[in-house]
Subunit: 157 residues, 2 copies
Amino acid sequence: MKSDALFVQDYYTESFAWCYGCGRLNAAGHHFRTRWDGDTTLTEYLPKPEHIAIPGFVYGGLIAALIDCHSTGSASLALYRRDGHELGDQVLPPRCMTASLTVDYRKPTPLGTLLQVRGTIREMGTRKVVVESELLANGEITASSRVVAVVAKTLSP
Amino acid sequence: MKSDALFVQDYYTESFAWCYGCGRLNAAGHHFRTRWDGDTTLTEYLPKPEHIAIPGFVYGGLIAALIDCHSTGSASLALYRRDGHELGDQVLPPRCMTASLTVDYRKPTPLGTLLQVRGTIREMGTRKVVVESELLANGEITASSRVVAVVAKTLSP
């Protein structure tokens, strides 16, 4: 499917594209990018050498951040597809925010290898999506997560 | 109490002081620091301008990272005190890792103001501590969390 090669964060409306985790317009940020891979969602990221917990392992905060943006991106993709759209359509996808994030750290995540977060859509309401994901390093699951994401309203500070 | 002015991360043994979130030896990191404030634990942090979700608000990944390191630091402080120690003693405090992290994002967290995470020790076993915390911005609770932390064994990559 063509849209499997496209990343949802590249289609967030400009005012929602500044996130330090996944915003394409945030020069300092991580630039996490999430796409469909069949019926699951996928975010891949290679942590930087400084993202350590203890030497050789990725720190939990980066894992939480990666899962957070992956999950809101997954929720956005799911709602968009539910509404009959695929990335590349004229209509832009919705932007979701995290209401609740749970990460279970099952074993230490090694540094220096590409991380994959694979998401499954568990529930979908009008504005709310539950995404469960697994973090894989070298094919091994090192963390799992459950995120409740909701469609963002426009906010002003 | 004198030790309320001391931060647990300043006493982590050197091999455990590299965390991007809270390691004093990680030049690129956030340097989160956690201390007792009476019977609760406190971590204060001023996010950087680039740590945005959408303009004006802090991104969820930073909040999760802050809560993560705050909670392991709180667990370390709690176990250390339980064992009769206060920071400044000859014995170093234990280093804890996160087994499970849950963050409920109750409302957007404004950027540009000092954040406070205040933790309460809910359970304490031999090696396991449950820490519940609230994130405050301008005195308002914007997120709450529950973390299960465990004493780290030494790991090699």
